[in-house]
Symmetry: C2
Subunit: 368 residues, 2 copies
């Protein structure tokens, strides 16, 4: 009960800007909210298969100390990528691989913070097999604990230990573009901010700064697409450019690339790289409020990222590619955020992506 009180007090604190709305309905504890508000579809989900597996990984030998003094030294696996999948009974569409962004896990694509169906299930219901990884170094993919234990034991300098980063709730308000400042939502904001505490729970420490460069996730994505005999790669935010990088390893197995609010569209690709990427259809998706209409200096980068992606799209088109920007605001759909797959109109956005996809990437060939 003490946690419940703590949460309620906090919610009032951080949502001071929308306090009027918060006062209209009783403030619920996040615990009660999460299970009680889960929505169930009126039609069953019929799966041919579901389960999980790993892609990639390397063996390393560690000392007793590196293993946290649990038994003697020995071998462990690092840099593996966990993948959960659902294959619809009816379908035969290309598999889709959905990769999450910074400080998050595959949970990004599952049930939304306010209990609605995630893109994972929606795409399956539309006939697409769906594969959801946790990036290497995060969530169920685990990470290499050796460097941390060495520092703890005095066997390595503290600075040698990777920095683990994480967004604060306050940072999320502006950086994910729910509003111009913490607690104040844009008038047309599409993110369910009343369930923001549930998004906060999705965050885990991000180890990407401590991983090999480029992150092993990229090779694992390419390997997964190969094993699937071709797949659509979808990245978000931090992983927004991963589909491009994976495609460069083997463009043939990447049947389409969807970059959702990418943190970057690299400007330094060579002409040969652009030529290779131009063989794969590319869709870039951005939400609204990329510049700050209030004039507050809280949102400096998203419009710059949007423009960087426009430039890449132009390069791909010049090289004969099929590349396109999906900006829902162009269609009168306003208020979408960085967490567009969790926005209230998330399935409307999903439909726009599926429409683009169905016009380009055909049914799967060899498999199924």
């Amino acid at each position: 009960m003490s946690i419940r009180s703590h949460f309620s007090a906090h919610r009032v604190l951080i949502t001071a800007g929308i306090l009027v709305a918060a006062c209209v309905s009783p403030v619920k504890s996040p615990q009660a909210q999460s299970l009680g508000e889960l929505q169930t579809s009126s039609t069953p989900l019929v799966l041919k298969a579901q389960g999980s597996f790993f892609v990639g990984g390397e063996k390393v030998e560690q000392t007793k100390g590196e293993l946290g003094n649990l038994g003697p030294g020995g071998h462990i696996t690092v840099n593996q990528m966990y993948v959960r999948y659902m294959v619809p009974q009816q379908g035969g569409n290309l598999p889709m691989v959905l990769v999450h962004g910074a400080t998050l896990t595959g949970k990004t694509w599952e049930t939304t913070p306010d209990g609605r169906m995630g893109w994972d299930e929606y795409f399956v219901r539309k006939g697409y097999p769906v594969y959801i990884p946790d990036q290497v170094g995060r969530g169920r993919s685990g990470f290499n604990q050796g460097p941390f234990n060495n520092v703890r034991a005095g066997a390595a300098t503290p600075a040698s230990q990777p920095e683990l980063f994480r967004f604060s709730d306050e940072n999320v308000w502006t950086n994910f573009r729910f509003g111009p400042k913490p607690g104040v939502a844009f008038d047309d904001n599409q993110f369910p901010v009343a369930a923001l505490d549930e998004l906060s729970k999705q965050a885990v420490p991000d180890l990407n700064r401590g991983l090999p460069t480029p992150t092993p996730t990229i090779k694992a994505l390419s390997s997964l697409a190969t094993q699937l005999n071709g797949a659509v790669l979808v990245g978000h935010s931090q992983s927004g450019s991963f589909p491009l990088a994976a495609a460069l390893l083997d463009p043939k197995v990447t049947k389409a690339l969807v970059l959702v609010e990418p943190g970057t569209c690299p400007a330094n690709y060579t002409d040969d790289q652009v030529k290779a990427l131009a063989t794969v259809p590319v869709l870039v998706v951005f939400g609204d409020h990329r510049t700050n209409p209030t004039g507050l200096p809280t949102l400096p980068t998203w419009q710059a990222r949007f423009e960087e992606c426009q430039k890449l799209i132009e390069r791909l088109k010049t090289a004969g590619g099929d590349a396109q920007m999906l900006d829902p605001a162009d269609r009168g759909i306003r208020g979408n955020t960085h967490m567009i797959m969790q926005d209230r109109n998330s399935l409307q956005i999903a439909d726009l992506i599926l429409q683009w996809l169905s016009e380009r990437a055909g049914k799967q060939g060899a498999r199924q």
Copy 2:
């Protein structure tokens, strides 16, 4: 390809004891194995619902440094518990909550290392809604990165940082009782040791030594059972006693407790606690080879744990409880291991548990 070569070499190394078997069939890379060998059931899985949510969690305020220098200081959530669920279209049985053991995640209960159906799907197919958490501090539940970043920045002493422990592959051979020493399987061993590299990938760093005592997972399990209007709690190894601890918080919502290879059956319960626990049916499940038939001093503890649990069972029965030991060897089923839910006869063991359960815990009342 270098990873593939590396793995092959390693497999020969660590499976020297079963080298004859390994040489008969070509050695596959774990990457190719994991997806290519996934087995698909001949009948579809029909779900009323699936998704994920969180239970519990607390807000803490952190400095810029504690957040890994990603924006200014602010609030984050810690000690939340991620839960994935599947509800069968047909069923109406009590929900089952399956909790994993040390250095592992909810992956424990999903697809087995050699690609067979996990207990998660099997129980759903038998009409039970299934809820799979990641323990607080692990996997998709995340952990508090603040203490680590403080050490890195010199703001705290290295020794203040939690130790992160993990089993080595070699340790697993004996501690999980696949065989008397690394690379040598018991003649009747039920674990699919040819897929041992896939089990190795399931391991993640275990932060439990750095969590509050008792772990917040226990309160979250009780809260989950309350929200579900009653549930069967299943623990394994490290979490083997968690169902007991959760039941003590509110015995009414724990409809049955299944302790799979528990790391402990506490001997220090008061008579009042035993009386409370005696209101809930309890099943303890242990695998084979708890003492080492070869006489090697590698397996000192499992028979002791078994005997400790037998004593608790006797205390519960004396207090009027319905408590029972399931030792498959008593029924002529030999060679089961600590990872009994992944053993080759895992569904045979599942059936024994479901039989016990169906005789005790009735259909769900208020829900569904």
